[in-house]
């Protein structure tokens, strides 16, 4: 086969594979704009016979989707902010400061990395329930804001920053806090952004915890709330998939905006996973 023919074959295969991969996402959007009759017909229709942009507002009217979206932003944003802030501080202590028991304490953080979240599910639920945190923001956010992964990743990154930078600032009279905020943090922006993007997307996706903790529209997230389209309406496919589209779009936008960090984060973790 000539190089030219081979090149064409590669390009063709790329287009084909990408097109097939996109089908579910494209269909989600197409069905979202179908009429009620078309989307609920016994024979599913692929291309909308007529377009119904009003489905967008109808989805918001049918269930409090706007509220669910706001709740998801609070939940995902709250856990992300808390986790990145506390993890950055702790990671600095582990990477740069000497104190008795440092190795031992970091070992405990590491040990919890392998433990699946389901193990802590029951105790966390019991704790939150006993403290009256069911269906409240602290109950939703706090149990997911202190995982070891953030501390681990940021410590790795801080260790890679040459000590000289900080020592120079220290000799100029900067204290630890100033060294951390003025020297380390600006250098660590890519690592912190990567952690934040992963945490945010992960929590936007989290179904199990909100399913257990939220039981009203006050804290219900989109992952939980989407099911109401099924429960209350049989399956009104156009509105269900319109809601699915609406809840997926912010994630896809975030993904495209932060793609550099996202891809970097995946490949860094992959190559560093030794």
């Amino acid at each position: 086969m000539t190089t030219d023919a081979k090149r064409r074959l590669v390009v063709f295969t790329c287009f084909l594979v990408t097109a097939v991969t996109m089908i579910p996402i494209v269909m989600m959007v197409l069905v979202a704009f179908q009429s009620d009759a078309e989307s609920m017909a016994a024979q599913p229709s692929f291309w909308p016979g007529s377009w119904h942009p009003e489905n967008l507002t109808r989805a918001f009217d049918l269930v409090p989707l706007g509220r669910f979206l706001l709740n998801t932003v609070i939940f995902a944003g709250g856990t992300t902010l808390l986790e990145t802030a506390t993890a950055a501080l702790a990671a600095y202590a582990f990477a740069r400061l000497e104190f008795p028991g440092r190795t031992w304490l970091f070992g405990i953080y590491l040990a919890t990395l392998m433990i699946p979240t389901q193990v802590t599910l029951v105790p966390q639920f019991v704790l939150v329930a006993k403290l009256g945190g069911i269906d409240t923001w602290p109950g939703m956010i706090l149990p997911h804001a202190f995982t070891a992964i953030g501390v681990f990743l940021l410590r790795q990154f801080f260790l890679g920053i040459p000590r000289d930078y900080e020592e120079a600032a220290r000799l100029d009279g900067a204290n630890r806090w100033q060294a951390f905020t003025k020297v380390i943090l600006p250098l660590a922006v890519p690592a912190i952004a990567t952690l934040a993007v992963f945490k945010f997307i992960g929590q936007w996706n989290n179904l199990l915890w909100p399913l257990i903790i939220s039981n009203s529209d006050a804290t219900r997230t989109v992952a939980v709330g989407l099911q109401f389209f099924q429960d209350t309406n049989g399956t009104q496919w156009n509105l269900l998939l319109m809601a699915a589209t609406i809840t997926t779009v912010p994630l896809i936008v975030i993904f495209f905006l932060t793609q550099r960090w996202f891809v970097q984060g995946i490949s860094m973790s992959g190559l560093g996973g030794r």
């Binding site: 269909m27 599910l121 029951v122 019991v126 706090l142 992952a223 989407l226 699915a244 992959g270």
Partner: protein, 314 residues
């Protein structure tokens, strides 16, 4: 890790008594360290480390949250042996893992190799192929229910073109699990693809040139250069995929609700049902520890195998 000596200005270093001032400096650093650690550490103890210990205790209790707990020793673990739903959850999870992990690896690697053929606009294809990974599982699970509609659904229509009469996927004893697996592979292959692509791009071209000079065929180059050089990435993807697939929940809850019967009830779904639908907290905690034990054993086995199979270039 290099032991860090606190920067001490030269004047104080020579000042008497050196021993005391050094201790002061150390105490100060310890205090600073704990101030940095405190916000994370307090939350970590209460919400992560504490619950891990508590899970061990709760697994020894007969407790439904509403009545006082009763200590029953290892009773909850003994119950697991005679619980058919637990066994089928175990078998289903193993089935899901054994099929979905190799499939995900093959798809991710094939696509990474395809994207690594030096064509233009790799980044665009990579973004689009990574999209499923960046969607919300619950939302796309609903789309897949629609795709799997038995009569006239998109999947069965496509199968019809090649003369296959597709089953009623999600309500079929035989086909519900494969249907979930296909959806899950679609959702997650992007992660492995990106890891493999980064791994492929890190392989020095000289290795391929050397292999070509030695008369290697394309297959021999793949077998003797690409695969060994890619083995750390492979190891990472295999370990994380297995851990992830042991915890599969969202799509099974939405698409099949564990059915038909218990055909797609996974371990995590059973933990959820036990703990939060039947409020049998002690039993749910015991199940979660068994899940943990499986993950530990499998991951440890993989790390042992790693020593023989993974090539590190350093």
């Amino acid at each position: 890790m290099a032991l860090q000596t606190a920067p001490v200005p030269p004047e104080t270093r020579s000042a008497p008594p050196p021993r005391r001032s050094r201790w002061r400096e150390r105490d100060k650093q310890t205090l600073t360290a704990w101030l940095f650690l405190a916000p994370s550490f307090i939350g970590f103890v209460i919400f992560t480390a504490g619950p891990v210990v508590a899970a061990g205790v709760i697994s020894l209790l007969d407790w439904n949250l509403f009545s006082p707990p009763e200590f029953t020793g290892l009773e909850n673990f003994a119950r697991l042996g005679g619980d058919p739903t637990f066994w089928s959850a175990l078998v289903n999870t193993a089935y899901f893992t054994l099929v979905s992990v190799p499939l995900t690896i093959v798809v991710s690697l094939a696509l990474a190799l395809l994207l690594n053929q030096g064509l233009r606009r790799v980044a665009a294809f990579r973004s689009l192929l990574l999209l499923p990974y960046a969607t919300i599982t619950v939302a796309v699970a609903f789309v897949w229910i629609w795709l799997y509609i038995p009569h006239g659904g998109m999947v069965n229509t496509a199968l019809g073109w090649i003369g296959i009469d597709g089953p009623a996927w999600l309500v079929s004893d035989t086909w519900a699990m494969p249907a979930l697996i296909v959806m899950s592979v679609w959702k997650s292959f992007g992660f492995g693809m990106v890891v493999f692509l980064a791994g492929l791009q890190a392989i020095p071209q000289q290795l391929y040139e050397a292999a070509r000079i030695d008369g290697s065929s394309a297959w021999q180059s793949f077998r003797n250069v690409t695969l060994p050089m890619l083995s750390p990435a492979m190891f990472f993807v295999v370990v994380t995929s297995i851990i992830g697939s042991f915890q599969v929940f969202d799509q099974a809850l939405i698409m099949t609700d564990g059915g038909p019967g218990t055909r797609t009830t996974t371990l995590v779904m059973y933990i959820y049902r036990t703990g939060f639908e039947n409020y049998d907290q002690g039993y749910a905690a015991a199940q979660s520890l068994v899940l943990f034990a499986f993950i530990v054993v499998i991951t440890a086995a993989q790390f042992r195998l790693q020593r023989r199979l993974v090539h590190y270039d350093n």
